[in-house]
């Protein structure tokens, strides 16, 4: 069966590192041609960043809709095998004949898990919920989210060795909690490798003038996705972190880190559209609400221009061309004061908003964790495809649709490498 129980594959296999939308797409497109594929994912679930998104632009459709189809494809196709909680430790050999050492961290929950939830009920420890960017807590025995694939609980390693962990184990009627599970290392042979480890939101605290982390009602665009999501920390209510009040006046700060030599020198491709999309979240939730977007250039490639026009036609969304210089908090009201140089009028203006969203950019995951093998990078840390192929946002900033395109093409490149 296509799961972690499967042993070492034959040569001729494609290894896809990263189980987000790019990795899944590359893997499935290759498997549906007829090639064996392994997906390695460091999270306890497949789906990656898109699993955290509330809606896709421009259709405003739920990402889980496409993920469900992709999971169905994975379930039906025995050529796709996957490892969660797994990272690549070492790559040796070359195209056609790689030896790849994988390290799988313990989930502490085995295949017996039925997702009945008893361990979560019994667990008396709460930890920060990383899926929601720390905006709430989750039990230390948890299902990452309801669409998690595999639908299997995880025990947070922080409670291993405590009485709480014992409680989780004792609560499980199916003998699924395995507190003794250890990390395991094993080697697989593959013919081609595709790096698809995606991106991380740029650390907003690095932009000291924007005061992220110091201003209570200042969040990032990815946090906004979680706030708006029905399975997010507030059940989909867009409220201020400081006081839980509904937000009527929101602002978006574009290029928070992107197009900035001191941070991310490139454009992150998606942030303009993400903010345009997020104005629809708040406008839909509250017809009285207002949104302001502070931008340098609005980049709405192709069909996205139509979406921009639609948002622009909404009189309650305004656009100010200018770079935000400073963000502060009004200590009395906890409102957020934005100082921006309006490039059109040339004046410095200050405006007050109930909440502000930083459109933080994409940092390639390889800026932090390099490929443990022979890979090339550009100045910004993106992987330059060579012997080890790369696709999706670890190769260049892109939206979901173009990630799908390049991931499909990368599947062909990977197949060519297997065939040669």
């Amino acid at each position: 069966m296509a799961d972690e129980k499967t042993g070492t594959p034959e040569t001729g296999t494609i290894l896809v590192v990263g189980g987000g939308i790019s990795g899944i797409t590359t893997a499935l497109e290759a498997a549906e041609v007829g090639y064996e594929v392994f997906i390695v994912e460091k999270n306890p679930y497949l789906g990656g960043r898109v699993a955290q998104l509330n809606k896709y632009f421009p259709k405003l459709c739920p990402p889980t809709c496409g993920l469900e189809i992709n999971f169905q494809r994975i379930k039906k196709n025995k050529l796709v095998k996957w490892f969660t909680l797994t990272e690549v430790e070492k790559i040796s050999g070359g195209p056609g004949n790689y030896d790849v050492t994988l390290k799988q961290s313990p989930r502490h929950v085995n295949g017996n898990c039925t997702c009945c939830g008893k361990c979560g009920e019994a667990c008396d420890v709460e930890v920060s919920n990383t899926f929601n960017f720390g905006m709430d807590k989750r039990k230390a025995a948890y299902l990452p989210h309801e669409m998690s694939f595999p639908q299997r609980y995880v025990i947070d390693p922080s409670i291993i060795g405590t009485a709480s962990a014992q409680k989780c184990r004792d609560a499980c009627p199916y003998n699924a909690v395995d507190l003794e599970e250890k990390a395991k290392t094993f080697t697989i042979k593959v013919a081609s490798i595709v790096w698809a480890t995606g991106w991380n939101p740029y650390d907003a605290t690095k932009m000291t003038n924007l005061s992220f982390g110091k201003v209570g009602n200042l969040i990032t665009n990815m946090m906004m996705e979680r706030l708006a999501a029905v399975n997010g920390p507030t059940g989909g209510k867009i409220v201020r972190p400081s006081d839980g009040k509904a937000v009527n006046d929101i602002a978006f700060v574009q290029c928070a880190g992107s197009r900035d030599e001191n941070h991310l020198a490139f454009c992150s491709y998606i942030c303009c559209l993400a903010s345009l999309k997020q104005t629809t979240y708040i406008r839909e939730a509250n017809p009285e609400s207002k949104a302001t977007i502070y931008y340098i250039d609005l980049r709405t490639p192709g069909r996205y221009e139509k979406f921009y026009k639609k948002v622009k036609a909404d009189g309650n969304v305004s656009f100010v061309k200018g770079k935000v210089a400073k963000i502060e908090e009004d200590p009395a009201t906890k409102d957020v004061i934005v100082t921006v140089e309006d490039t059109l009028s040339g004046k410095k203006i200050q405006s007050r908003h109930e909440m502000v969203v930083l459109a933080t950019g994409m940092e390639p995951s390889t800026a932090q964790v390099k490929v443990p093998g022979n890979a090339k990078y550009d100045d910004n840390g993106f992987v330059v495809p060579a012997e080890i192929l790369a696709t999706g946002c670890v190769k260049k900033p892109s939206d979901v649709m173009s990630s799908g395109q390049t991931a499909t093409g990368t599947a062909l490149k990977a197949i060519q490498m297997v065939r040669r």
Partner: protein
């Protein structure tokens, strides 16, 4: 296969607490005489699975009904191989996790003195039990009605690929497919390969570090394709028609610009009118019936006549590119009036030939104004069909100017510089070029001077003032219109018309509606790439072409295995037709979202199974109910509907049947269960491949059996449709008019049957949606046909 049923009821995950498993077993053993029926506290555990396996071995059980969790989980544990039928009955997420296990009942009794007292007592909830029993009945019936699937195998699946268009996209697709071992034919209507790419001096960077222009590599690609043993090139050639289906497309070629007997005959007028209301709008680009027959009129053969000289291909990549958009609608910019106002395409052609010179007199053009955004009064759109490509093109051409003339000055007037992603690196590099002046502003006018030079007046600049710049030339950063805007290109000999559909959704581009599935088209085996689906840079064309080549290969390999392509990838079932009862109503032909069916002159459908995506919309459309899949058919679902025990009126319980989309609504129901959201136990869900496959007979079955209402839960439709089969949920909705009429005839209230549009992430609304419908049904009361 002789079926031997085994029913396995799991008591784990609270199922045993919420239900009486013994009573549930009785449904299997008494009502359905299942020879084997067992319960276990964890059917998915080693012991449970071993129990099933031992019965398979010892008892010959081959039809396994597992009443436990959702089929979306434990799919691997309960996989007993293709030789056995496994049916999952979801009594966890959709029964015990979403319904109360007990209820408070007032019980009358007599106390010691014989006085009547009323006590509240907690009893097992018989509504929940009845729900589980109905699901088990439906599951058993479904398994009984499931037949073995024999895949549809074409005798000979052709592995060669046709690429339409010999520009950068077509050449890339061809080279990539050939490099993977598949023979390719490129058909190009021009006399040479290369398309617009061949008319470029240099190309926008395609690779890291994306800072500088790259030499134009199209010549190398042309050379590689022309000399590749696996690639055939047909120049000055067009497609007359493509008939057939994936694996066996028959393609008739013709010299470009000529007519051929294999051209698609125009639809007759009456046919068009008759087809239009039922089969949506006529397809884009459908050839108009010529008013007068030209003297050299060639009589076109009917679409079902086969061309003996046609060449056979397995799949098609459409890389037909586009045509430069005409910017003359923006009169204030002087295009068409002044000789030295040109488009970016015109400048590129000049630049490819030599130094940039003025069209009016051939003199060096040392100063050029590039206009990015043509609108006035704050309209910040780029030119139509620009995508984000034109900012890059202007930066590239500004670069040419400073290459050609050390004192060259390029002014770029923009509202937004659109250099997304790593293209920012190229933009930054241009900013360092002392000959390039980037100014944000609105171009008010372009006027011509005595020397044929031009004055460009710009307002709202960053400096806040109006400026006028004198230049030798003005270049309009106009876009590229897709070829599909003008021609069907693919000229399909399909009954639904020769062109792609829904082109109006994307301004004529043959793009996919799906964010997650960018290569999806409504014509199986035919994939689009490059400028035909969005204005793209060379680099984007190359990436897109590679993906399209993969999809083409994947389609013919899937066809070779008798498997469906996306979204039911791997499905080996396909629709079969019982033609003796066909009344030639053509509904299946017209409604199939993928144009899988053609029909002959009488109107009898001609199925093309390898075009089929297995959604079952034809089955839903057929009023004679002659269309079926081996494992999904009218009788199967009808029998499941009939298996529901409808209580008598005096029991005062409502019964509602809900047909739910298995891709979105069904997972949403599972998630509602996971969150333990509670809703009425009066409703029974039947998953369907797509709401498009719901045949109105099932609704009639439900109502005539005494059910009080029917709910259809499917995907959103409209321009931003979410239906994975494009039109399924919309077609279902259209059929509802007929349903309302039928109900009216039966003197039943039309509100008893309703369709709801539902997204997968709306699970928290499940109780509300169901609650509202139950209220409606309670409002109209019991089905008067109950008990008849």
């Amino acid at each position: 296969m002789e079926k031997k049923l085994g029913v396995y009821i799991c008591g784990g995950c609270s199922i045993g607490e919420g239900l009486d498993l013994e009573k549930l077993s009785v449904v299997a053993t008494k009502e359905y005489k299942a020879p084997v029926c067992k319960t276990h506290q964890a059917m998915c555990g080693e012991e449970g699975v071993a129990l099933i396996k031992s019965d398979m071995e010892a008892e010959g059980v081959n039809t396994i009904i597992i009443a436990a969790c959702s089929p979306r989980v434990k799919y691997d544990v309960f996989d007993f191989g293709p030789a056995n039928i496994v049916e999952r009955v979801n009594i966890r997420e959709q029964v015990v996790w979403s319904h109360d296990w007990t209820k408070q009942v007032k019980v009358k009794s007599k106390d010691a003195e014989g006085k009547e007292v009323v006590k509240e007592e907690t009893q097992p909830n018989d509504d929940t039990q009845m729900l589980a029993e109905d699901y088990l009945r439906m599951g058993i019936v479904k398994a009984q009605k499931t037949n073995d699937v024999d895949p549809y195998l074409l005798e000979n699946v052709e592995k060669s690929i046709l690429v339409i268009g010999g520009g950068i996209t077509g050449l890339t697709a061809a080279l990539e497919a050939a490099a993977t071992g598949y023979p390719v034919t490129i058909v190009e209507k021009a006399a040479e390969l290369g398309g617009y790419a061949a008319k470029q001096r240099k190309q926008i960077p395609t690779k890291s570090p994306f800072t500088s222009l790259e030499p134009n590599t199209i010549r190398e690609q042309i050379k590689a394709a022309s000399s590749h043993p696996q690639i055939t090139v047909k120049l000055s050639t067009e497609i007359a028609r493509i008939s057939g289906a994936p694996g066996q497309f028959a393609v008739s070629f013709k010299p470009a610009g000529t007519k051929s007997q294999w051209d698609i005959p125009p639809k007759k007028k009456e046919e068009k009118d008759a087809a239009a209301p039922a089969a949506e709008k006529p397809a884009e680009g459908e050839p108009e019936e010529p008013k007068e027959l030209p003297a050299d009129q060639v009589k076109c053969e009917d679409i079902l006549t086969s061309d003996p000289d046609a060449e056979v291909f397995g799949a098609v990549v459409v890389a037909a590119g586009g045509r430069p958009a005409d910017p003359s609608q923006f009169g204030h910019l002087g295009y068409g009036k002044f000789a030295n106002v040109v488009t970016n395409t015109m400048l590129e052609e000049t630049a490819a030939k030599g130094k940039i010179v003025r069209p009016s007199d051939g003199k060096a053009a040392k100063s050029i104004a590039f206009i990015q955004s043509p609108g006035l009064n704050g309209d910040d759109s780029d030119f139509p069909y620009a995508s984000s490509v034109t900012s890059m093109i202007s930066l590239k051409q500004a670069n040419y100017l400073t290459e050609d003339y050390s004192d060259g000055k390029a002014y770029i007037f923009y509202k937004h510089m659109r250099t997304p992603g790593l293209y920012e690196n190229f933009y930054k590099n241009a900013q360092n070029n002392p000959g390039v002046f980037l100014t944000r502003g609105e171009v008010l006018s372009v006027t011509e001077n005595a020397d044929k030079g031009l004055t460009v007046e710009v307002d709202n600049t960053i400096l806040g003032e109006k400026v006028a710049v004198n230049v030798d030339m003005v270049v309009l950063a106009s876009g590229m219109t897709p070829e599909t805007q003008f021609e069907p290109v693919i000229n399909l000999a399909y009954r639904q018309g020769p062109a792609f559909r829904d082109l109006e959704l994307f301004d004529g581009y043959a793009d996919s509606n799906y964010i997650c599935f960018p290569y999806e088209t409504r014509r199986t085996g035919i994939y689009t790439a490059g400028n035909v689906r969005q204005t793209m840079t060379n680099g984007e064309c190359i990436e897109d072409a590679t993906g399209a080549a993969l999809k083409a290969i994947q389609c013919l390999e899937s066809t070779n295995r008798g498997m469906a392509v996306h979204p039911r990838s791997g499905d080996m079932s396909f629709p079969e037709f019982f033609f003796q009862r066909c009344t030639q109503c053509k509904r299946c032909t017209e409604e199939c979202p993928f144009g899988a069916l053609d029909d002959d002159e009488k109107g009898t459908p001609k199925p093309n199974p390898s075009r089929c995506r297995r959604c079952g919309t034809c089955m839903g459309a057929c009023p004679e109910r002659i269309i079926s899949f081996k494992n999904y058919h009218i009788d199967m679902i009808g029998s499941m509907v009939k298996a529901v025990n409808v209580p008598d009126e005096d029991e005062e319980k409502y019964r509602i049947i809900a047909f739910v989309c298995e891709n979105d609504a069904y997972p949403a129901l599972d998630m509602a269960g996971l969150h333990k959201l509670k809703y009425s136990a009066d409703i029974r869900f039947i998953p369907v491949r797509c709401l498009g496959s719901v045949n109105t007979i099932w609704i009639a079955d439900a109502m005539s059996k005494g059910n009080d209402g029917v709910l259809l839960i499917g995907c959103k439709y409209g321009d931003d449709y979410q239906c994975h089969f494009v039109k399924g949920s919309e077609l279902c909705n259209r059929r509802m008019d007929n349903v309302a009429e039928t109900l009216g005839k039966l003197r039943l209230e039309p509100v008893r049957v309703q369709q709801v549009q539902f997204s997968i992430d709306e699970y928290e609304k499940i109780p509300e949606v169901i609650g509202k419908f139950v209220e409606v049904i309670e409002g109209v009361g019991f089905n008067p046909m109950k008990g008849f």
